[in-house]
């Protein structure tokens, strides 16, 4: 844990020194802000919910997470600092976990900034009407869980290539692959479609975002995240061959 935190700290410092991370966060806030006001229906029907915003989170994260994770390992392998890192007395999984925590914290900072939306909703809602906090809390929880699984796979993409652009595209494809089974219901027979749909991050995301927190959905995300982290660890260990 000590090593993991030390690596996470260094990685976070690196994020805050890096213009890329700032640009990504800024663009994320602009885009999500626009989506929030456009899709919340706030200006049209005057209803106060964040449904529209959370519904678009998976697509939004699919783009922004790989942009944050692409440098995690690829950059170090390209610049050579990877050799210094891998010859420190740390285990591979500590390196992976440290970098994962840093990227997750970084994305959570972005998510934290979006708290402005529910707060503004609460302020401008029609007097007497109630803002349903259940879906908002559920939405944020599922957003963090979704981020974890995307970050784990985005980082794996970064371990697979020394080139950050390739790592980004690969990360995007992996996140897309986690999202698309949800649409299987459209082309597959109902029973099979439902089974495939179960594999999709989107399916579980919507469950939690409704405000219903089911252990199975949480477990699903934890499993996907773990798989991503294990794959990254194995890919890193293989560089020693």
């Amino acid at each position: 844990m000590h090593n993991t935190l030390a690596i996470a700290r260094r990685e976070l410092t690196s994020y805050f020194h890096s213009p890329v991370a700032h640009v990504v966060l800024a663009v994320f806030l602009v885009v999500s802000g626009w989506l929030f006001f456009y899709f919340s229906g706030l200006l049209i029907v005057g209803k106060a919910s964040m449904r529209g915003f959370f519904a678009l989170c998976p697509l939004l994260f699919m783009l922004f997470v790989p942009a944050i994770t692409m440098r995690l390992i690829a950059e170090e392998r390209k610049s050579g600092t990877f050799e210094g890192l891998m010859t420190l007395p740390v285990a591979e999984h500590e390196v992976v976990l440290g970098k994962f925590l840093a990227a997750l914290s970084m994305m959570c900072v972005g998510l934290l900034c979006t708290f402005v939306y529910p707060v503004s909703l609460a302020l401008i809602k029609a007097p007497g009407s109630a803002l349903d906090m259940g879906p908002i809390i559920g939405g944020y929880l599922s957003a963090v869980l979704l981020l974890s699984s995307f970050i784990a796979f985005g980082m794996w993409a970064s371990a697979l290539s020394k080139n950050q652009i390739i790592a980004f595209i690969l990360g995007l494809l992996l996140c897309f692959a986690l999202w698309i089974p949800d649409k299987a219901i459209l082309i597959l027979p109902a029973s099979l479609g439902a089974a495939v749909q179960y594999l999709s991050v989107n399916y579980h995301f919507e469950n939690i975002a409704r405000g219903v927190i089911d252990v199975r959905d949480v477990l699903y995300y934890l499993t996907v995240t773990t798989i991503g982290l294990v794959l990254t660890t194995r890919t890193i260990a293989a560089t020693r061959q």
């Binding site: 000590h2 020194h17 610049s79 050579g80 600092t81 420190l88 007395p89």
Partner: protein
Amino acid sequence: MSDAPASPPMIQIEGLTKHYGRTHALRGITFEVPKGQVVGFLGPNGAGKSTTMKILTGFVEATGGIVKVAGISVADDPVGARTRIGYLPENNPLYEDMMVEEYLEYIARIRRIPADKVRGAIDTAVARCGLQKVRGKDIGELSKGFRQRVGLAQAIVHDPDLLILDEPTTGLDPNQVVEIRNLIRELGKEKTVILSTHVLPEVQHMCGRALIISEGKIVADGAPDQLSSDGGHIDLVVTGKRGAPDLAATRALLKALPDVAEVHERTTGEKDALAFSLTTKGSADPRRALFAALVDAELVLLSLDKKALGLEETFRKLTTAEAGKAEHADHPHSKAA
């Protein structure tokens, strides 16, 4: 239980092999480095110096053989072995966006220096490597010489027993080279150091022992002076008592001396004189026999200069064995022509 030696050698390598796919980078390397020795690891590019160091530090896994650092097997306890080592990788890659201070603190933390001793450890490393003036600067802004010092500082911040330095002086200007060499020599007084280089005088300056590696094998192992004194050259200029001596006869005379391996003609500015360069067999000294033979042949010696075969030439001889044979076949008489 107690039959293990009190202190195992700092480095113990036995039958080390490494294949990258079909390429054999190391073909069975065996050596030991006792505590406190400063070893220079020599070899042409691609001979396997870096690979050996990468295996010692655990960055790369060996294909076969035993590698132990302070008695700890690198294969069985990689993290344990790495705690004993300070490593400066080739090209000294550093996090450009970190401050020197920040970076050393990160290394100190990961190196498990207790929180209350981190400050002191960083101060010591900074002082030893002369980094006081740049502590608060970004690493990316530093000159190459200072970067190298930062690389060394991160390697010694946890006061390791063993320092592994991969080409520590490559790419530095002559002043920086001298500074870094002095620093390494200073560190070598209390630590075991293994450094790779292809700058040969460096080994004579800093190391008590040289290991020459070529094509994945160790081809020489010994004190740098010992390696450099095997065999030598004698340069001489002779003239006749009356005018220039006969070239063929003089050449034959020299060639017939017992300890002379080769005779090459050189050019000389002296009038009516011939100049030769002799290569001696092993460490033999044929000067007395040479002088007597010249007197007998009524030749006059104008100059005589004995040179030990430099480490440079030993190195070339050992590491270009194959190439050397081809060269000789190509132009055996090039010097006489």
